[in-house]
Subunit: 566 residues, 2 copies
């Protein structure tokens, strides 16, 4: 492609509302343009990247035996009512009324639609297993769309749905998809990790996320320093240490702590470390009442884990402050497990400390030297907290470090959640009706391009991996105003590259070298060939890889150029 016919829309200004580097660079390089909040147009240069990501995903899904189809973006409400999700999905689902006032949504995902089609067409075990996928536009009405295409409202997604006669079949396809995802993320050229994940409101059992590692990532990942363990912090389990509870050494005393409500305030005021404090959070219980959750002072509640505990309400909900004050007779800053008017569950770590500080359940007072089993009953314990850096790895190998990641893919074993709710049944070999097992597998196609930029850029702009670069090589003649030789050689090389099937750009704009090089760097073309009279005098081109510090001279031949691209 000639730049004279493929207008770049590069800018030097950093857009004001772009918070992260990929968003800034995508705007500056003219890959995308904003249409509205969370709505982006992929300009020609950006679309080339998007299509390459899409094609890698398609290749590997096909290779894995999945079949591509295309479902509508607009979905009838009836299907969501059948699955029970019409009322569960919140404001993030864009609801629509058509001209006849019938309810629809702009599909945020397609479990209901595919299950509906499968129950129409698939009747026999002979037709299973099957894995259908699509690469299609989704809409999620994010409360606060941000970070450009990273968290846009309208975006391109690959979503796949598999159906199986039994859980073993599902587990096998899950591994097949895990392998396909590994190939996809590798081919795209991303530094990624597959991590254990929570399944969220899609439902189901096993699930893993594929994260592109980047400081701007919205997700925190718990990764072992030694073993293979990796999980989203939301899903990373913690275990009891196995050490016995230390015996009490201090007497219980009530201390006056006027106005000291937070753990940090109390810790400072009483000069005890946060790890020596037990805090009590009050949440709604499964039975409709209140229940206390005891956590170590330095730990944070994991609401997802809490919601899964049988005694805690799901969805998770904090208790109302007035209800707590009515039950305890004091302000919420002074709660504790000793003489507690409501049942208490303790996180494993909180249950392992002795001589701890906690609220006295009366205003302006805390207890010091409190002990489980002596001053209050030994509580039921559970895994209720977020894992933290330095925790032992749940698999017993090494300790946990935290990394930031951008979720690019997610694979789930859904089980029978949708097939059961929507009455999908299939006859097995004995002629008996069974409810198939289902898996689903997503990739955020438009997000991937941005995520790769977060990993791969420098002060001058984007550095595309070859596999998803909009063009692989840019040919830049310089000094063309003085002599025609450079221009002619550039035209010739450009044509030879095109004929060799290489996606080449020719910068035929006739600008000064500085602006041409700046554009090439900003848009991130991996390979650059500069052709000038000086080099040509020695039958040489100048070659520079986008990552290299310096250019080098190579023979002025197609073969020499192709050798550099290989």
């Amino acid at each position: 492609m000639r730049l004279s016919r493929f207008p770049l829309a590069t800018t030097k200004e950093t857009p004001a509302d772009a918070e992260i580097i990929s968003h800034r660079l995508m705007l500056r390089a003219g890959l995308i343009r904003k249409l509205g909040a969370g709505l982006y147009t992929w300009m020609p240069l950006g679309l080339r990247v998007l299509r390459k990501v899409e094609q890698i995903v398609r290749d590997e899904m096909n290779r894995a035996g999945a079949l591509e189809l295309l479902m509508p973006s607009v979905q009838p409400a009836e299907l969501w009512q059948e699955s029970g999700r019409w009322d569960v999905m919140g404001a993030e689902m864009l609801r629509i009324k058509d001209r006849h006032k019938n309810d629809f949504c702009y599909g945020p995902t397609h479990e209901e639609v595919i299950t509906h089609h499968v129950r129409q067409d698939i009747r026999s075990y002979k037709q299973l297993p099957i894995n259908y996928y699509q690469i299609q536009t989704k809409f999620r009405d994010e409360r606060r769309p941000r970070f450009g295409v990273m968290r846009a409202r309208e975006f391109l997604m690959k979503d796949a749905y598999s159906f199986h006669m039994d859980a073993e079949g599902l587990a096998a396809e899950y591994q097949n998809m895990r392998a396909a995802y590994t190939r996809i993320f590798s081919r795209i050229g991303a530094d990624f990790r597959a991590v254990k994940a929570d399944s969220g409101n899609i439902g189901g059992a096993a699930s893993e996320e594929f994260h592109i590692l980047a400081g701007a990532g919205e997700d925190l990942l718990a990764v072992s320093t030694e073993g293979d363990y990796a999980a989203n912090v939301e899903a990373a389990e913690t275990h009891p240490s196995g050490r016995p509870l230390p015996a009490p050494t201090a007497a219980l005393e009530t201390v006056s702590t006027p106005g000291q409500k937070t753990c940090e305030q109390v810790s400072r005021f009483l000069n005890v470390p946060l790890t020596g404090k037990v805090k009590l959070l009050v949440v709604k219980a499964a039975d409709g009442g209140l229940i206390g959750i005891a956590l170590r002072g330095d730990h944070e509640l994991n609401e997802i884990k809490a919601a899964k505990h049988p005694r805690i309400a799901s969805p998770f909900e904090m208790a109302k402050i007035e209800d707590v004050q009515a039950a305890f007779g004091c302000e919420v800053g002074y709660l504790g497990p000793v003489n507690c008017p409501i049942p208490v569950i303790a996180d494993f770590a909180a249950a392992e400390i002795a001589d701890f500080v906690c609220g006295a359940n009366q205003n302006d007072a805390h207890l010091r030297g409190a002990n489980w089993g002596r001053d209050c009953a030994l509580p039921e314990t559970a895994d209720l907290r977020m894992i933290v850096e330095g925790d032992p790895s749940p698999d017993g190998r090494g300790t946990i470090k935290l990394l930031r990641g951008i979720e690019g893919g997610h694979i789930f074993q859904l089980g029978q959640k949708y097939t059961q709710a929507m009455g999908l049944s299939v006859l097995d070999e004995k002629g008996e009706a069974i409810t198939p097992q289902m898996g689903c597998y997503g990739i955020g196609v438009s997000r991937m391009a941005a995520a790769v930029i977060e990993q791969s850029h420098d002060a001058n702009g984007i550095i595309w991996p070859d596999a998803i670069a909009p063009f692989r090589v840019i040919v830049t003649p310089i000094g063309t105003d003085k002599s025609p030789a450079a221009k002619e050689a550039a035209e010739q090389l450009y044509q030879q590259l095109i004929d060799a099937g290489v996606e080449a750009l020719l910068d035929d704009r006739g600008l000064r070298p500085g602006p041409m090089f700046a554009d090439a760097d900003l848009i991130g073309i991996p390979h650059r060939i500069v052709i000038g009279d000086k080099g040509l005098a020695n039958q040489q081109f100048e070659y520079k890889h986008r990552r290299a510090d310096k250019a080098e001279m190579i023979p002025a031949t197609l073969d020499a150029v192709l050798a550099k691209l290989a």
Copy 2:
């Protein structure tokens, strides 16, 4: 692809609500599945066809120098308010409110969005001309979606938008697009005609539609028996014959026609041909009053032509019956141009007849022997009717015949309608701001597959042109339960075809020949190779083209098969 891994969803039953052959065959062949009114899923077999149409369109648009981008489907209302179309677009535009109660639509077209982007990025004549296109999902909330993907609500469209410094530049790109469309429709393998069209509410001047000819087409085309003339009947102009108005030969008389209100009734009652009657329609005038349109008894009003007449209201609106009766003092069945209380415009053909019959402007009475210029003033004349079969061709060569067509594409010269309304201005060579000229060019990608089926099918199913067939050849071994030779030879040929880059299907389902052949015919694979022991004994395969009546024996070699596909 092996049919054991690519499940067909063919059915023998004809779906009840499918009115036209392409809809029936697409459902029966399992190309599409209905999700809701006007909402269809493209199943894997159908998607292969859709992607081929899409790729042909993309190839030719790229070859024509257009640049692909991708705009959001959800568009902010503000842009439509700027262009003035937010209030003009009716219920067909799907309007949406997001979680913040802001107004959006599911884009039925993208003139506003692209003009917005161009005004952001394009400032100088050096950046023009430019032609941006996308292949993207549209939604039009049809009152009565029907005919499957032919008139669906959600559909795939290629829409292109070009911008130019002047009308000459626009006209040149229009011809460039016309040539590209001709290549696209030819490559798809369709029998098509480019016809003059009305521009509808997209606005603008010159426009042509590309129609795939088919009896089920919703559009009527006026095509010359001799010259190149072809137009949508809505847009086909008629001209005065040039013959002088014949002199009156009959006296004016009032005849009693009790209860005879329609032209047909009066014609029968008075035994005069419809061509000897003048009917008067009363419509809203541009000045807010009423105006009469005189048409020959056998002609129909063309509302699009009427709305463009300066004295007639736009948008076109018939007068209310009570207003007409108040003005004329009689029922609407007895109106005529003689002693008419409102102004009259006559269609050219109506103004050319003498001694005509018309309503007497009193109940239960008509006039016989009426004449323009004698019994009433010579009226203003205009082209106000639909062209009919047998009319002289407007270009003076041959006469008009009517054909039915399915609109697959439409090209427009929009002029400055959007660029002006949305304040797009560009600096010319002298540094002066000008308002660019704009063109737009659409192709209904999903509709094309259906339209081709309307042209190309038989009693057994679809007959795909090679260019858009889901697979080009199907290899079918028979008698595999008796001997392994046919199966082995089929596997070998299948692999050879795949290696040669031919999209081949292998029917490895082991069914009886009848059902296998029926499926292959129904899904329309152009070439079929049958391999059985009998043929193999003579080193022969059986070859049959989907259109051929009989199969023929060919040598059992890859080369012989490839020769048939060539």
